[in-house]
Amino acid sequence: MTSHKDIKMWTPTTLVLLLIMGLGGLVIIYRLMHGLGAATNLNDRFPWGLWIGIDVLGGVAMAAGGFLIAGAVYILNWKKYKPIVRPAILNAFFGYALAATAIMFDIGVPWRVWHPVVMWQIHSIMWVVAIHVVLYTTTLATESSPMIFEKLKMEGAKKTVYAIMVPIVLFGVLLSTLHQSSLGAVYLIAPAKLSPLWYSSQLPTLFLVSAVMMGLSMVSLETILSSRAFNHKPDMAILSGLARGTLIAAVIYLTLKFIKLFKGGIGMAFDGSMEANMYLLEMAVGTIAPIVLLFMKNIRENLNSILFVDTLVIAGIILNRLNVSIFGVYRDQAATGLSYFPSWMEFVVTLAFISFSIVGFKVCAKYLRLFPETEGGH
C-alpha cells in the first residue's frame, strides 16, 4: 500500500545500466589518476566538450520540470498536478545531481569545487551559475525530503517541511529562473566564437524558455513511462495540460528564434554549412514539428502521440545545448587545426550518469511513496 514494492529491481535493462555505471566509475577513477588529457579528447581550442554539453547543460534543462510543477501546485494552486509533483521534483533532483557530479569531474581541481562559495566574484557568470547549483540542489533536496521522512517515520520533520513548503517552492522558482537563464548567459562573453545562428543577447531568455519546453516534456514522458511500469492508468487531463504548456512555450521560443534569425539575415540558416544544417535539424525536431503536432487536439489527447512529441522536444533541446556548446563554436575553435570528437571514455561517463538517473529514479519509485495519489483510498 505504501510504495511500489512489486517493481522488479533486477531486470535485464537495470543490469545493463548497472554495468555501464560500473564502467563509468572506472573511467572516473582513471580520469582522477591521470588527468583530463588522458581521459578526454579536450584540448586548448576545445576546453569544453560532451560532459558540459549533455551532462551539465542538458541535465539542468531536463530538471526544469521540478520548479514548474512545484510552482503550479504550490503557488498557482493548480491542484490537478499534485499527483506528479513528487516525481517532477525527484526528476529535477536527479538532473541537478547529474550536472553537479559531472562538473566535479570536469573541473581540473575537484577538491576545490567549494571555492566559489567563499571567493565571491559578482562579475562572473560562472560564479552566478555555481552559486545557483549549490542553492538549488539544496532546495530540491528539501522539497524531496518529506518522502524520506515518511519512509523513516519522522512525522514531525515531515510536517515542518510541509509548513514552509510554499516559501521553499517560491525560492526554487526564483533560483531556477535565474539558473536556467544564466547558463545561456555563459555564452554571452563569446560573440566572436559562437556562430550568429545561436549567439544573441537573448541567450538567457532562449535558454529559459527552451528549458520550460524540455522540463514539461520530461515530466510528461516520465509520467507515461512510469504509469506503464507501475501498471496504473495515467491521468489524461494532466498529460494534455503538460502538452498545452509545452506548446505555449514552444510557440514563444519559435517566435524569439524567428526574430533573431530575421535580424541576423535568414540566409545564414540555409547556406548549407554544417552549422546551418545543425540549426535546421534542431529547430525542425525540437520546435517546429512539436508545435505542428501539438496544435492538433487529437494528438494532445493520445498517449502514444504525446510520448512521441515529448521525445522530439527532449532530443531537440539537447541538440540545441550541443549546438551552442560544440557545433556552434566549432568553426572558430577549429581554425588552427585542432579538432574535437569525444573519446570513448567521455561517452561512457555520460551514459553512466544517465544510467544512474534512471536506476536512481527506479529505486526511489520502489522504496518511496512517489505516486501517493495513485495508491487508491489515499
Binding site: M33, H34, G35, L36, G37, A38, L42, N43, D44, R45, P47, W48, G71, Y74, I75, L76, N77, I103, D106, I107, G108, V109, R112, V113, H115, P116, M119, Q121, I122, H123, S124, I125, M126, W127, V128, V129, A130, V166, L170, V173, L174, T177, L178, S181, S182, A185, V186, L188, I189, A190, P191, A192, K193, S201, P204, V329, Q333, T336, G337, L338
Partner: protein, 257 residues
C-alpha cells in the same frame, strides 16, 4: 600607471630570441620540435610556451611576403578571462599584467572560452593542472624591469612604456610613414583595447589576427545580464507571493461556497 607595448611587425626578423628568453625567465622546459610545414615552432602556443613567432607567408603585388608575428597574451584593459573567472584566480593588475593565482583556480576553463584570442592554455596532461599564459613578466614590471622578451629583441620590434604613449607612438609612425603600414593599430580597439598593440605592413587578417572581435569590452556583455538579477529576484518573489495569496483566497472562497 598601466604599461603597454607597441609591436612593429615590420621590424621583426624572426630570430625568436624572445621565445628563448621567455622560456628562460619562466623556467619552462624545452619541448620536442614538431614539424608543421613552416618554421613556426611550436605550431601553437601551449601550457609550456607563452610566446612564439609565427611565420606567415602571404602574397602582395604578385610576390611572396613573409611576416613574422609575435603571439602572446594581449593583456586586455578589461579582460574577458578575469571577468569570467568564478574564483578570482585571474586578475587585471594596476600596472597592466593579467595575473593568475593557482591556489584559487578550480580548473573550470571558462577563461579559455571567454578569451577571444584563445590565450589561456591548460596543462591537459597533468593530474593537478594549471591554467598557463603569458604573465607580461609581472614580477619584472613590479621591479621596474622591462619584460624578458622585449629586453632580448635585437631589432627593437617591441617598445615598452606607458600605454598611452605607446598608442601615440603607433599613430605617429603611421602618419610619418605613409604607405608603410596599414592604417590600423591592432589592439587599440579590439575587445575594448589591449596592452599589447600591433603595427603591420599587411592587413591583419592576412596575419591570422582575428578581426571579428568586437570593439567593446566583453565583460559588459555578461554584466548586462548580471545587473538585472536583483530586479528579477524582486519581481519573481513579489509576483509569486501575490499569486499564491490570490489563488489561496480564491480556493478558500470556493470551499466556503
Amino acid at each position: 600607471m598601466a604599461k603597454g607595448v607597441l609591436v612593429d611587425l615590420t621590424k621583426c626578423i624572426g630570430c625568436r630570441g624572445c621565445q628563448i628568453s621567455c622560456k628562460g625567465w619562466n623556467e619552462m622546459s624545452a619541448q620536442k620540435t614538431v614539424m608543421a610545414g613552416d618554421l613556426t615552432n611550436p605550431p601553437r602556443l601551449n601550457a609550456h610556451c607563452y610566446t612564439h613567432i609565427r611565420f606567415q607567408e602571404d602574397e602582395k603585388e604578385g610576390g611572396p611576403v613573409w611576416s613574422f608575428v609575435k603571439d602572446q597574451c594581449f593583456h586586455c584593459k578589461n579582460p574577458a578571462c578575469a571577468s569570467a573567472c568564478p574564483v578570482g584566480a585571474l586578475k587585471k593588475t594596476e600596472k597592466g599584467p593579467v595575473t593568475y593565482t593557482f591556489e584559487r583556480c578550480i580548473g573550470c576553463r571558462y577563461c579559455m572560452l571567454a578569451c577571444p584570442f584563445y590565450i589561456p592554455k591548460y596543462e591537459w596532461e597533468k593530474v593537478v593542472p594549471w591554467i598557463r599564459k603569458c604573465t607580461f613578466c609581472s614580477e619584472r614590471i613590479a621591479a621596474d624591469l622591462v619584460p624578458a622578451c622585449i629586453k632580448t629583441c635585437p631589432t627593437g620590434t617591441m617598445i615598452f612604456g606607458e600605454l598611452d604613449d605607446m598608442l601615440k607612438e603607433g599613430r605617429d609612425r603611421i602618419t610619418a610613414n605613409p604607405g608603410k603600414y596599414v592604417d590600423h593599430i591592432y589592439g587599440e580597439k579590439e575587445a575594448g583595447g589591449t596592452s599589447w598593440m600591433y603595427l603591420s605592413a599587411v592587413p591583419f587578417e592576412w596575419l591570422g589576427f582575428n578581426t571579428r572581435i568586437p570593439a567593446k569590452e566583453l565583460p559588459d556583455l555578461t554584466w548586462a545580464y548580471i545587473a538585472k538579477i536583483p530586479a528579477v529576484i524582486g519581481v519573481v518573489l513579489v509576483a509569486g507571493a501575490a499569486t499564491w495569496a490570490i489563488t489561496r483566497r480564491n480556493q478558500n472562497m470556493d470551499k466556503e461556497e
